[in-house]
Amino acid sequence: MFRKVLIANRGEIAVRVIRALREMGIASVAVYSDADRRSLHVRRADEAEHVGGSPSDDSYLRIDRVLDAARKHGADAIHPGYGFLSENAEFAAACAAQGVTFIGPPPEAISALGSKTEARKLALRVGVPVVPGTEEPLGGLHDAQQAARRIGYPVMLKAAAGGGGKGMRRVDSEAELEPALRDASSEAQRSFGSDEIYLEKLLINPRHIEIQLIGDLHGNTIHLGERECSLQRRHQKVLEECPSPLVAEHPELRHEMGAAALKLARAAGYVNAGTAEFLVDGDGRFYFLEMNTRLQVEHPVTEWVTGLDLVHLQLRIAAGEPLGIRQSDVKWQGAAIECRICAEDPEYGFFPSPGHIVHLAEPAGPGVRVDSGVYSGWDIPLEYDPLLAKLTVHGPDRDAAIARARRAIDEYAITGVTTNLRFFRDLLRDEEFISGRLHTGFIEEFLARRPRHEPNSHYDVLAAVVAAMHTRDTEPERTDHLHGSRWVSEGRRRMLR
């Protein structure tokens, strides 16, 4: 086993990895940028090394500096966390060249699965379903008609060179195809200088469900079931859960998707933890989307229901130990939900809200886990993503987990900055959410029906008195020099209360 591990990351995930290292008796090395000198991961680690300026391309993304820090501190392995260098094949190869173990898959597997198009090709080769579409640009209207008939309406026309919604047209029937193709082609030509269009099946309000994989260096690869991640906003996940409410209805789906994900992992020579993401339509048909070749943000959900510690497993696998668990050993118990607690303002387009955390109270009690990267009195830096902490809860079933999440959110207090805590408070009480009818457009629909909280005169009075009292008690003392010590004025105040 390793003696010392460097964590090439920051925030809650760095703290999460440090916890696992400490449990296993391994020394930890944190790296930090200028903005992160006072961050929690630096405080929690055994050793720490400054790696550059606040922008991540001057610090956390600097392969040379991260490797220098590993050399200087004598770390024998590097955990990349998620984001930053975690899916960078060049970094994984550079670690190997320096004789430091990269805690993740081999560089070849990162390359084979990390690129969307490469992963799609691999999926087609091994017979894992992908969203049906044309592999080559359309050769004209006849070609488009043939392809759309084969795939089935509705379909989406997309610019081959494109992105950002330009050159995209939804087509519900063959009659609409000709004008849509004409419009999409000319828009693509104007936007991207290429009129090449391809065609894909349009999934209406699909679910986003992913499969956790884990494999060792001895050829043992298993899946740890699914996570439902349909609640997203601008492709950022908001809330994740296991089991997926859809899998709870169709238990065979877990094993079918698990088997598909394993086919991909084995074909790519995958080792360590990874996640295969799928879109699932209303009939339970699933389509491979992409592979994340790292630990996911939402891994605690899987840890709750399987009872396994994914970071411990990652470390053991990287050190060459066998997995020690067979597929049949994996049991899923109860239900878990994760809420991503972010410094952002749901009333204002979820705009990030960095600033000073005045007061922090984290929930505790049965079935509650908080993976946090923040503390009271800390200034949230401007440079990084707004995730502050992950609240995960576990209960015997989904309803119990929802009730527990509500209770934990009520206990959670973060003052000084704006967070999405109150958004979760409403979401966890939403009838549609409770029913489990989730899809990737859910959050947008929920925002439109989110209840308005009418002013309440009782709460107004409480807030007014507290704010007035706080103003009086925290204002710089004007009368000290006239009336003697602060103690005297404090005594006078108490009498007034």
């Binding site: 410094a343 952002e344 705009f351 990030p352 809200s353 960095p354 600033g355 000073h356 005045v358 007061h359 109270a361 401007l382 440079e383 990084y384 993503d385 707004p386 009520d410 207090a413 003052t415 000084g416 900055v417 704006t418 109150r422 408070r425 909280h453 002013p455 309440n456 709460y459 107004d460 009075v461 409480l462 807030a463 007014a464 008195v465 507290v466 704010a467 007035a468 009292m469 706080h470 103003t471 009086r472 008690d473 925290t474 204002e475 004007r478 007034l496 209360r497």
Partner: protein, 147 residues
């Protein structure tokens, strides 16, 4: 003496002796037992106002000590346009002397990889541009002054 306090833009007149049981149990955290109900109220002073959390809602409260309140002057004159939240100035879209329309972008501020365009609240002429590209600004910091 009664305080006149603004809660989410509603004016509330309160007497500080109105809640005799109110106790500050931790810095910025108050406990109240009233008619057998237990309340926890949290307050943080941010950008010149108070954020008060009570019963799952956050109220923005402006409380000024009646002993110290200066008479407020309401004038038509120049208006300071401030950053709504901390961030980095990445673009300045106007210069001094420019005429701007209502809703026209003045400055773009970026925080946590998201960009926010600060817009003019009315048609006016730009008097002064305090924002500089690359500078870090605090919430409430003046970016542009319009006539």
């Amino acid at each position: 003496m009664k305080w006149s306090v603004t809660v989410d833009s509603r004016v509330v007149k309160v007497d500080l002796t109105a809640l005799p049981d109110l106790q500050e149990v931790e810095p910025g955290v108050y406990s109240l037992v009233q008619d057998g109900q237990s309340y926890e109220i949290r307050v943080a002073h941010v950008n010149g106002a108070h954020q008060v959390d009570v019963a799952g809602r956050r109220l923005i409260v402006d409380a000024t000590d009646p002993h110290r309140a200066a008479p407020r002057r309401r004038s038509e004159g120049p208006q300071n346009i401030a950053a709504a939240m901390p961030g980095k100035v990445i673009r300045v879209l106007v210069k001094e002397g420019d005429a701007v329309e209502t809703g026209q972008g003045l400055v773009v501020v970026e925080a946590m990889k998201m960009q926010n365009e600060v817009q003019s609240p009315r048609a006016a002429r730009v008097m002064k541009v305090a924002a500089k590209v690359g500078a870090t600004v605090a919430a409430g910091e003046v970016l542009v002054t319009i006539e």
